[in-house]
Amino acid sequence: MTGTGTRRGLSFYLLAAFFGLFVLFLYGPIATITILSFQGPEGGLTFPMNGVSLHWFRNLFEQQAVGDFGGSFRRSIALGLTVMVLTVLFSLLAGFAFRRRFLGSGALFYLAVASLIVPSILVSLGIGLLFNILGIEPTWYGSALGAHLTWTLPFGLLIVFAIFNRFNPAYEEAARDLGATPWQTVRHVVLPILLPSLIGVGLFGFTLSYDEFARTLMTAGSFNTLPLEIYGMTTNVTTPVLYALGTLTTLFSFTVIGLFLAGVMILRRRRLRRTGAAA
């Protein structure tokens, strides 16, 4: 216990203060624009607040001169969900593959790592050029989807590696000894154990895609996704409508995280109950 006593000394409080400042640094600006998005109609981009209203939120949905906010939002969601499903599926499959030795596994691993290191603008430029030369029109559900996957798949793969490292193969052996086919083993033993972590992979896939700007730049074709729309707004909109958009998208991100966390928690509780019932 003396160890704890010495740790709660001056250094603990200094570090705690540093941590507090860091959190303030992370959240402060976002909190500021959230407050400012409730400016009155006469309000500007900075404090002091000039009245309190929902004017700029209404403005966001009414005035189509700002851009196609609704359409780009829907496209971003659809793209994010597709990326999410493909990321979970592809990285899980590849995770299974990497548990065995196969020709080219080293090369594939390095290719995946390279995908994280290559600057986003290069992926955008490369796919744009490739489609240009081949004469294929880039689309948000085609070329942009591929571009996003080059960013989300390596993350997914690394998480799946970490999951399998902690996975105890004894469960699979037990299932096999009881006469389960390989597919039954995966379906009834491996997948239920991996499920909470796979939800994490999905969350990664969705949010990385939902926010991706650079990789979408040359690959989205004629229809914008939300980050492209927001970027367009930053260069020509000078009213708090920008903050209203920021508040809404941040709120949306937090809702998605909340849903995912709740999902993981429900799964964990259900499993606890089931194992409790078995015992």
């Binding site: 404090f47 290719l111 290559v118 600057p119 050029l129 490739l130 926010d211 700007f213 650079a214 920021g246």
Partner: protein, 307 residues
């Protein structure tokens, strides 16, 4: 090949007739390829081939209307002989170095606090999540959220003025190199915190106890025990931060208000002017520089243990 795999197959499925065993062993060998196929295909079509396309196009010729398949070195010549390129590279490396140092200091301190000073695992996870959540929101929104803070009439300036510390707003806060680095730190500090925290959590606590029993001061423990063992995490975080900053163009454009340049921004400008071969040559050089940096970092620290 078949001869060596059949016996092991036969032992696991001893009742199966021989022909079935052979067929199943071929299936077993094909399965990993089918499983890795979607990943490999995606990376091939959307990463490898596009990069090879960039390399090819960097040797093409172009005029104001279109690009022509060719083999010329003028794109590289123009790029490497222009003083603008060198200045821009220097500027980009400056951003990367400053962001790296600051995020490293923050990341190490925050991770050290979470890993070694927060005692309960629940609190550790809660505080860790608190750090992670802002990372999931839009990068561009996080950038513009600095405007009401740093602007001419922003919170910081009005605060300093009312405190009597300055009598004129500080102009350098927004649309400056300062704002660019601040935004980078804000965006990417987490890429340092997470891997370093991950490394630190793997450190055997007995080592820290032993060092303390041996009479080491807290600073000595950090410097001689924790720092060396956290190196793989530091390397992973550094690779992320440096590559992200080296390729960035939106942060530089938005936060510098067009006052500053980076290689990524240079490439983005060439793209918007449809000077694709020039952009491609620039991209190839950038890729080479980034790869050299990453390889150099990997030579110092072996991160394979971490995976």
């Amino acid at each position: 090949m078949t001869a060596s795999t059949v016996p092991s197959e036969a032992s696991s499925a001893s009742a199966a007739p021989r022909g079935d065993g052979v067929r199943r062993s071929t299936l077993r060998r094909v399965v990993p390829y089918l499983q890795a196929g979607p990943l490999a295909l995606t990376l091939l079509v959307f990463l490898l081939i596009p990069i090879l396309t960039i390399v090819a196009v960097s040797f093409w010729d172009y005029d104001s209307i279109r690009i022509y398949p060719d083999f010329v070195l003028t794109n590289y010549e123009e790029l490497l002989t222009s003083p603008v390129t060198w200045k821009t590279y220097l500027n980009t490396v400056k951003f990367a170095a400053l962001t790296w140092v600051i995020t490293l200091l923050i990341g190490f301190t925050v991770a050290y606090f979470l890993a070694f000073h927060v005692q309960s695992t629940t609190w550790q996870m809660v505080l860790f999540l608190v750090c992670t959540i802002p990372f999931w929101t839009s990068n561009i929104i996080r950038m513009i959220s600095w405007i009401p803070f740093l602007g001419r009439n922003g919170l910081l300036n009005s605060g300093l003025i009312s405190a009597g510390l300055i009598d004129q707003p500080l102009e350098f806060l927004l649309f400056s190199d300062f704002a660019v680095v601040l935004a980078f730190v804000h965006l990417y500090a987490l890429f340092m915190v997470v891997p370093i925290f991950n490394s630190m959590m793997r450190i055997d606590r007995a080592l820290v106890e032993a060092a303390r029993d041996g009479g080491a001061s807290a600073a000595q423990v950090v410097w001689n025990v924790i720092l060396p063992l956290a190196k793989p995490g530091i390397a992973i975080g550094s690779i992320f931060v440096v590559t992200l900053v080296m390729g960035d163009f939106i942060t530089v454009r938005l936060m510098s208000g067009g006052q500053s340049a980076s290689i990524g921004l240079m490439i983005a400008n060439e793209i918007s002017l449809l000077q694709y071969p020039a952009a491609a040559a620039n991209a190839v050089v950038l890729l080479a520089v980034v790869l050299i940096m990453v390889v150099a970092m990997l030579r110092i620290v072996d991160i394979r243990k971490e995976l």
